[in-house]
Amino acid sequence: MTRLLDVENLTLQFDTDEGRITAVDNVSFSLEAGEVMGLVGESGSGKSVTAKSVMKLNPSNAIYSDNTNITLHLDSGPVDIMSLKTSTDLQVVRGGAISMIFQEPMASFAPAISIGSQMVEQLQIHTDMNAKRAQEVSIEMLDRVGISDASSRFKQFAFELSGGMRQRAMIAMALSTKPKLLIADEPTTALDVTIQAQVIDLMKDLVDDFGMGIVFITHDLGVIAQTADKVAVMYLGRLVEQGTVRDVIRNPAHPYTKGLIAALPQLDDLDTPLTPIPGDIPSPLERPSGCVFNTRCSANLGERCSSAIPEFLKVTDDHQVACHLYDEGASK
């Protein structure tokens, strides 16, 4: 396997009117080429902010810690993302080596420019294609993502397409530059299950064809089970569990992951009542000390959980959990 991305100690705060909030707290993970990592967690847990950090795409009130280190491994050598300052530097990664699919497809297309012109422009910035070739490639790509009659769709505006088609067009644009890394932020959340299934298939084909790595953000564990090789679970800015998709979904170790699964309505079990996780996710202004999940955890061990931050421990070789229940000598 070839390492594609290393994120080490990512810590990110925002200066806001109400004070400084910690959106991401000491997050580390890595991704191999051709690998799909699912990032799950409730809204507000920091998934989008983490994803945007990989492209240094957060707004100017974002403050990264000094020890935050993000390395993208390209054929030409490693790129230290945090050291990129000018927009010319950043263009190497944004829309070039890394593409992002956003939660809201309308946001990624300018409303008054046709889809085709936007695709061509992006290709001309990031490759040495001429306009004619860029147009051919764009139409090919639209066709590839299953948009029928691609050459006439090419001339249309985003608002003229249905939700499913817009999402496909966005994927086509994101993939036309043949990125090494694709960051997909809730790419299917707004879609019907039928269209979602089509988009998931498409993304899997594209991993096979292009060998890119994907960070797939969603709060839908079913989607993760169907797409990801490995999973990281995030809560209030911290990773609490990570491992292969089978390990984490079949044998969840962290009380939060277990809670997410128990809250899920499952079709093959209509009799067990749905069990919500008690309470609400705290505001990032009032992050609990110790384990960030301690205010909602039914397994809370008391003093230890409210004072000490749990470290990542091995459950198996490719499955880790950050919870005091698994500390050596802890009574379970």
Binding site: Q196, A225, Q226, A263, L270
Partner: protein, 332 residues
Amino acid sequence: MSDDVLIEARDLSVHYPLRGGGLFGPKPVVRAVESVNLDIGKGNFFGLVGESGSGKTTLGKALLRAAPITRGSVQYDDGDAQYALTNLMGKDLKDYRKRAQLIFQDPYAALSPRMTVRDIIAEPLEVMGLTSSREETDERVREIAAKCRLNLEHLRRFPHAFSGGQRQRISIARALVSKPQFVVADESVAALDVSIQADVLNLLQEIQQEMGLTFLFISHDLSVVAHICDHVAVMYLGRLVETAPTRELFSAPKHPYTKALLSAIPSLDPDDRGKAQKLEGEIPSPTNQPSGCKFHTRCPYVTDLCRKEEPILQHSSDGHEVACHRWEELMD
């Protein structure tokens, strides 16, 4: 109309005129709901599913007399009061609105930011003139707030201070404060966190049983519907294509569209990948509908008959209805 039926729709159609239509010839219309026959039993938790644009919200609104009824009839009979909705006007319409309510389930759109929670919940009582004093209003508000597990302390606050789950409980309290018999819950935002969703679903179910309400629950999410509803109707391009008791629909679906919808739900088992029966394409435009069976453009079992003749909803077994020419053949 039988005694145990609360709402009976016959040949119900809702057509919206299309702006900018031709000057000559027939005006183009959006046929959002077409020839729907539907019985909702007293005390049912009735689910309505289908892809975006299939007409679920429009049908729900027509049953509340909040969308224009172009053709057909809707009867309401709760034992105390009877209404024929098609020509309902003036005082009768006002009276009907006390008995039939809509819950907006988009927790971020529905609540006015400048009103306190108490005023938001009290507003329907005041608008409908259901209470005669401030004390009585407060009493009703406190009663329903407690039922919806809202902290009474919270009544003085503004809604922006609340989480998604709490906002939903506020919307529910507001819809139920007038003590309606029939409630349409339109879950227009599918992207709720699973934990909040589980909490709200449990609350709805409790309240429904406690207050003996009849619910029409509109959702994209079949797993949710499977857990909470006792009957389900599946909609496609303005038509009902299948209705059945929930367990029957999920264990023995008969319409090819229902089968496709069910198989598109992402399984939580990572080893189930690729098993889904993929539905190609998208739902056709309701202004330019296909001939014959509206599903024929996507149906893997289409025949010439399907292209020519529209199947009608017919009884297939106890309480189970299906609109497909070939359902019997396709059983095995």
